[in-house]
Symmetry: C2
Subunit: 176 residues, 2 copies
DNA sequence: CACCATAACTATGATAATCATAGTGACAAG
DNA sequence: CTTGTCACTATGATTATCATAGTTATGGTG
């Protein structure tokens, strides 16, 4: 990758000044735990406040704050899905959908480096277009297509899912 | 992508329980602004405490804390580069180098969606192996190779760099 | 009409993280 | 024997996040 000519003599940057660096810009917009978990849930099909809260574990003001920021940055849109008591849902914009590549890279990295031994993948993805298991690749190993939002169909590993629910039950039992 | 069967009835998760979700694991390890900026700097060739501080703008305890965490997660290693007064430097492990795909995806996304009009890219990357400009692709548009750590050579846009230095000087002038 | 349920939040007070700034320790050079 | 370098620690103020409870608007049930 790029190397600085003279690292020592580069000027000091302030934390808030992103200086047009694209990584700093991305980090400002989505570089925090809650935002990433919210985005994961939006990609997985949860669109309502309550469900986002449920699946991420975020406190309501945390969620409100992060949703507002995402909306301000045009990553998600907020729209009423019913009148009566007016209720809103959140959906990824095109700009938001394109964050898929980042989330997918995060998933691939963690599955590659943070799995115990030869445990199965948490979620196996199949390329919709050709039916091939994509494994941990960014490009379909069968047909060579690049993989973006909507190109994959995921099936969570059933053992891991069972574990999830078991843990969940245990915690509720202990705390209740 | 995957859709929940019944989003509403999924159990509540706690914030600290990652439930083997690879995105939650990645988010825990690198999902914060400072960590991402530090990683950027490590990829760009800054390895010493002072330079990381200088380029990220992080306060020293912030930097210390993040470096310790990254070390604990085996993303970076700490090694003495001189005796005399013993001084340490930080370098990416193999696990750390593989984070390139995430940082590169973040760069691509921001350059695609957060640039004013037809402004040039902040940094142009060339595929070392074949010499082609890779643009904003994850796969070399000329030879089709996937692009990983070390495969690219970056050249910062000189106008943007000039702007950086100008802004820097202004801020120093104002605050001093 | 009273009462409960649902969903998208807001309010509150305690705890934890982050901030800017200053200081420390180990040495080397002048 | 003072000054400079570099990798940190210490400190006290500010800000963010936490768990929990409450609010608002409505629809359905008895």
């Amino acid at each position: 990758m790029l190397a600085y000519d003279n690292v020592a003599n580069m000027p000091i940057r302030s934390a808030t000044d992103t200086f047009s660096c694209p990584i700093a810009i991305s980090a400002d917009m989505i570089g925090d735990r809650w935002t990433l978990l919210i985005l994961r849930e939006l990609f997985f099909g949860a669109h309502r406040f309550e469900n986002l809260q449920r699946h991420t574990g975020a406190a309501p003001q945390m969620l409100t704050d992060r949703l507002r920021r995402l909306e301000k940055n045009d990553i998600i849109g907020r729209a009423a899905y019913q009148k009566g008591p007016v209720r809103y849902e959140y959906r990824l914009t095109e700009k938001g959908k394109d964050l898929f590549s980042i989330l997918y890279a995060m998933r691939n990295w963690a599955e590659r480096w943070c799995r115990d031994g030869d445990a199965p993948l948490a979620i196996a993805y199949v390329h919709r277009a050709c039916g091939a298991d994509v494994g941990l690749n960014t490009v379909c190993p069968a047909c060579g297509d690049t993989l973006g939002y909507g190109d994959l169909k995921g099936t969570p590993n059933s053992e891991i899912q069972k574990e999830r629910f078991a843990k969940q039950r245990r915690r509720i039992a202990l705390s209740g």
